[in-house]
Symmetry: none
Subunit: 209 residues, 4 copies
DNA sequence: GATGAATGAGTCTTCATTCAT
DNA sequence: CATGAATGAAGACTCATTCAT
């Protein structure tokens, strides 16, 4: 019984890993089901026991990858959290951390970006009870609670705005170097993000607005 | 001789129009060369006399469409320019104008967005000597000159930032209504854009900051 | 012991019912073993414990369905038998009764017709000792004995002729309305059947021959 | 120009011939597009230039085959027409002629029978202006005109009835020998057909009724 | 007896591109 | 210049059947 379950997990993992590697290296369109099962060492029909089609496995991989990205950023923040007492510094830290990872592994950026919708993203960072772990959205709200001096007009819209801005500008600068290099863009991006955050803050103690 | 040239232009136009309609209605992937030539009423081989492949015609159409979008926004601004003396109001006007058009014709947004790179965009708004008309980049610089009270740290990066922010957030809100509707997003987006502009302005004479 | 037997019968019935419904609604070719076992709520391997393949269950279902059709017609005749003292009226009654049922439930007609061979039909109406009940062929012969004024050249060939004529003409008229509607065809069909019967009768009292 | 047209005809013919042979020998379900193009010596894509799918070529082949069958029967009748002055003898001759051909080439019977609908049949014998030749339906009406002593209640329904009876009984007897051999069935079938014809005749001069 | 995961051959269909006319 | 018939590789997906548990 346990053996069957183990075997299923092995096959599922092999398919995920195989598809992830191929999507990264060759792109989604250039990857066929045939390639995926071949590399995974399973039969073609087996693929369809676990996934509806290529876009099903793609979406699940994007969700997984996105989740890992955000969680690793948050865990890195936890280690150094004393260095970033201010809310906006935490946000900048997380954005920087993620973009640096994407800059290092450009394939992930290419894979994720053009296929990521906010709907899919939200699924990813809400963690869908897949694991019992806490998810990124929880952390986001915890961060807000930890900084009671900061009250936002609309926390979700602000997060959405920042993520869209960061991902679309980094996509172009990291992958194409257009219109400037990622390194050159970075300070401008950070300042824009800070400006967006300030713009969302409602607080009597905030005189900079 | 001129007749031959006319005939060529007619075929070219027919191919452009046919491809545009099909890309809009069915998407690029779902449109085949067969469909395009069929609708255009020319032979399959003829397509290859004018275009390298499907992605060639796609890129040229995106450039054309983007150019039209920006130029129509600028021309609308010219009509009402007295209402928008401030630089940032002009920018907001243009962004609003374009997004409202995309909201009205969602197909254009879908067509352009996922296929638009900054490189292609720059080609579009630089107008590539296709026509002798003035191009959008010229207008952008003229707008800056007309408002000498405003000096920007980096005009191109600012434009890039605004365009990426506006296009990626509007894509999600207009097409998916995620995470909020386009209407709900709009005021937040405008404020974020203003914040980005303020952030780019360096000028002692600017008291509006 | 009996419980095991009951359980087997339950599974068998579930498979029959599931296959019957699917064959009716989607056709035989469009129905897979997967569909059948899914609907029946049993495992795929179980199917092969009871049936050789899809065509095995199909044939058994056709035989069952055909048998029911003929027996219900005969039982209806028994209730009103005084109204039909003549042999040919009895035959006409049975044919009408069956065709009216098929006209009401066209799915059954489609299911049975294209898959029914005389061999399978004979198996069905001979009832193969599946049950201890009397079968349709017995009734047919009883009907003949009850009308000693009627002697047929070849009773089985006559039955075969009538059944083939009735089933093939009704298939086309009921399902396609070709070349005329079932209602329009009916009087002609009945007269043709009567003509065939008369043609088979050898009897000194029969001067119409 | 003519060369291209010739080449097209050659490919079309090759596909027809290849499909016909394979359908005959292996059945329709057991024949794949791959088999057809392979045998025809053309590429797979070529098939789709000429036919929508397998069922398109099947239907066209059935129509062709049926047409040939009926026309050869009629031409044979013309040669011996003096032997068959009576209308019903002509019909019997044609039925016999066709069934004898089907008995000789059982594959044709198998191919045609289970796939022939009256709609398709009518298309076949009406000849659809494919050729300029006269079609079977014309002959049928000519036969009726040549025998003014015979007036039928409904000529099309009569033809339909006879064809359905003949084809379905011969299918079973020729291919399965069920319930009797074709040879044994033949006289009964002929008599049944005559009975059906008599039954359709309305004529004061007809004393045989 | 019952299960259902795994198989992998087999099928249809699409389509960009070429090239003889 | 223009045509459009022909290509054939490539891809997605299905499904009857087996067999270890």
């Amino acid at each position: 019984m346990g053996k069957v379950q183990d075997n299923k997990q092995i096959k599922l993992d092999a398919l995920f890993k195989s598809a992830y590697d191929l999507f990264m290296n060759n792109g989604i369109e250039k990857t066929s089901i045939h390639d995926i099962v071949n590399k995974a060492g399973v039969a073609k029909g087996t693929f369809y026991l676990y996934f509806k089609d290529k876009y099903d496995i793609r979406d699940r991989l994007i969700a997984q990858t996105t989740e890992k990205l955000f969680m690793s950023a948050y865990h890195a923040l936890l280690l150094d959290q004393l260095l970033y007492p201010k809310f906006e510094d935490k946000i900048i830290f997380i954005v920087d951390y993620i973009l640096d990872q994407l800059n290092t592994n450009k394939m992930i950026l290419r894979f994720i970006y053009k296929n990521l919708s906010w709907g899919l993203f939200r699924k990813a960072i809400f963690n869908d009870s897949l694991t019992n772990e806490i998810n990124f959205m929880d952390f986001y709200h915890k961060m807000l609670e930890e900084n009671p001096d900061v009250t936002l007009k609309n926390p979700e819209i602000m997060l959405f705005t920042i993520i869209e801005l960061a991902s679309s500008t980094s996509y172009s600068t990291i992958l194409d170097g257009e219109p400037v290099s990622y390194e050159e863009m970075k300070p401008y991006l950070n300042e824009s993000i800070r400006a967006i955050i300030h713009n969302h803050i409602i607080s009597e103690s905030n005189f900079t607005q």
